[in-house]
């Protein structure tokens, strides 16, 4: 084998190994919740009878080390709540589920990017430090109204002013 060939083949193999290790680690850490990780389930036909999702929105946390729980219902073709305000600097645990089909839940400009699946409650914990406005979009094609499926997340200074 040529000397140069040996170099690039070893570098290529080494980088493949490194990337596979990174992929393996990130598959089970860093907020990922694969189906086998004990993700919380919910009956999709009775989502609205659930106390948390009957009036989705921002609620003060009762347990855990986050400040607020933010419940979001993603359905065809809207989000509930349609707009939410979060006090700047607070740590929020976002819970999303769907009563119908698979939807996406992406808070633009942040790392919050989840799939809302009927029957499962996707969660992600995030600290919002910078005041500002984030668009929430559906990034899983869900039907004719997919493009109009949005919500707004406002990070504001001061108190909580929801609903």
């Amino acid at each position: 084998m040529h000397k140069y060939e040996k170099i690039w083949i070893s570098l290529g193999t080494a980088s493949l190994a490194v990337f596979l290790i990174i992929l393996g680690i990130s598959a089970v850490h860093g907020g990922h919740t694969p189906a086998a990780s004990g993700i919380e389930t919910i009956n999709p036909e009775h989502v609205r009878e659930d106390a948390r999702f009957s009036e989705p929105g921002l609620k003060e946390a009762t347990d855990g080390d986050h400040d607020y729980d933010l419940y979001f219902l993603a359905s065809a073709f809207m989000y509930e709540p349609g707009e939410v305000e979060i006090p700047a600097g607070s740590t929020v645990k976002i819970h999303v589920t769907s009563p119908d089909v698979v939807h996406g839940f992406q808070v633009v400009g942040t790392n919050v990017n989840m799939i809302a699946e009927p029957g499962l409650i996707s969660t992600y914990e995030m600290t919002f430090d910078e005041p500002g406005e984030h668009l929430i979009v559906c990034n899983e094609y869900c039907g004719v109204g997919h493009t109009d499926m949005t919500s707004t997340l406002k990070v504001v200074n001061g108190g909580i002013a929801n609903e």
Binding site: M1, Y4, I7, W8, L11
Partner: protein, 53 residues
């Protein structure tokens, strides 16, 4: 029979020598350049992810 074998062996040796004499500097540079580009874009995405934490 053995003559033929010798001939084949000689040819293989000849091919091997030719392979080592190949000028692969340009190929090597391009392989490294593409590798560098991949590494750079990976770190670009990673930095973006870390900034948004």
């Amino acid at each position: 029979m053995s003559e033929e074998k010798d001939k084949i062996k000689k040819e293989e040796k000849h091919n091997e020598d030719n392979h080592h004499k190949l000028d692969l500097r340009g190929t090597f540079m391009m392989v490294m350049a593409i590798g560098g580009l991949m590494l750079l874009s990976w770190f670009g995405a990673f930095i973006l992810f870390m900034e948004r934490m």
